[in-house]
Amino acid sequence: MLVDDLRMELTPEELSRRKLLGLVGSGCLAVFLAGSGAAIGQFMWPNVLFEEPSKVPLLRPEDVASGALTTFARHKVFLARAPGGFFAFTSVCTHLGCVTNYDQALGKILCPCHGSQFDLSGRVLGGPAPRPLPRLELTLEKGVLVADTRKFVEPDWVFKV
């Protein structure tokens, strides 16, 4: 026999039990879905990364050329001498993340993707870049200048040795 639940006679007791069970059921389903969603979100968030370490050794202070930038292509870092010290800044363009190139003949830093231009201390000269290339924290470890590619410092910060 087919059951037509719309025509089924229900006592008030049965009706309230049905409502409660329905509520508990949908509640459980909601908790299950929310939990699954959160768990999948967590799963997609990697806990271990096999990326380059953020602290990258550059050069011994006495080996840094003056009047020109030294490029560290692998680490995406520029290193330069400043009066009384050194500074390093990222070569990753502040527009959309391409790696910029130091053009020694022009004395500028050029981005190949959308044509942003920077001077030798990372200030914007032209193009779509919204901000200067940020300077990176420098430290001296075992006589070698070490930059941290995730730690940004003030635009006029200079590391005095």
Binding site: W45, P46, L49, H95, L96
Partner: protein, 248 residues
């Protein structure tokens, strides 16, 4: 003689169990042919002649679907040779071009059909807009269509990374940096998309799985709903009062 042979072929229990209606020689049998066939059941049994004029739709939706079928077949074939890993991806793509038999044909079919599909889907959207085919009761199908456009673009974008050449690498670097511009959660969005801070092996496998499994599955489901709703709303939109002869 040919007639008796054909009769013997179809007048038996096996054939009758597969096709349960006669030849489409009457309106009833024609309807049954559509109703009882899995591949035809999304289509209406009758259409207005005006609705199938080429200049009404330019067949843009159907051609988009044709592109998707080409992309599915060529894509599955390409998957047999492509390894989504940093050391292999670029070489596999080059092998497909220069070493694998018919590889360059399949790769180019996939590539051009992909470009064409984005174009056709965009034109389809413009056609529907200018025809006013988004009007009630079809408003929600327009929304589904926008979602399908989004899936198409995302498929195009995720497929972009897979050759793992310079263009792919920097296009995805630039694209995910655009996601970074989203207020408050931009940085996290980019991290989640790439599975890291840079475009690397995690990003490649993520884009691969999205491109080959997650997005196609979502797209096929969306298209099924899209076509089903078109059919339920009376087929291709014809302006009220425009009339038109109905043909089976």
């Amino acid at each position: 003689m040919f007639g008796t042979l054909l009769n013997r072929l179809i007048e038996n229990r096996v054939f009758r169990s597969i096709v349960r209606h006669g030849f489409p020689d009457s309106n009833r049998n024609r309807s049954l042919a559509s109703f009882t066939n899995f591949f035809l059941h999304l289509q209406p049994v009758k259409v207005r002649l005006k609705a199938i004029e080429f200049t009404r739709t330019f067949y843009l939706g159907g051609l988009s679907l044709a592109c998707l079928l080409i992309l599915s077949i060529t894509g599955v074939l390409l998957m047999f040779y492509y390894h989504p890993s940093v050391p292999r991806a670029y070489d596999d793509m080059k092998d497909l071009e220069f070493v694998v038999s018919q590889g360059v044909f399949l790769r180019n079919m996939h590539r051009w059909a992909a470009h064409l599909m984005v174009l056709l889907v965009s034109l389809h959207m413009i056609r529907v807009f200018y025809a006013g085919a988004y009007r009630p009761p079809r408003e929600f199908n327009w929304v589904i269509g926008v979602v399908l456009l989004l899936f198409t673009v995302l498929l195009s974008y995720t497929g972009y990374l897979l050759p793992w050449d310079q263009l792919a690498y920097w296009a995805v670097t630039v694209g995910t940096n655009m996601a970074r511009a989203v207020p408050a959660i931009g940085e996290e969005m980019r991290f989640l998309m790439l599975g890291g801070h840079t475009v690397n092996e995690n990003a490649l496998i993520r884009f691969y799985v999205l491109h080959c499994v997650a997005l196609p599955a979502a797209l096929f489901l969306g298209i099924a709903i899209h076509l089903w709703r078109v059919r339920k709303d009376g087929g291709v939109y014809v302006e009220p009062g425009e009339g038109g002869e109905v043909r089976g």
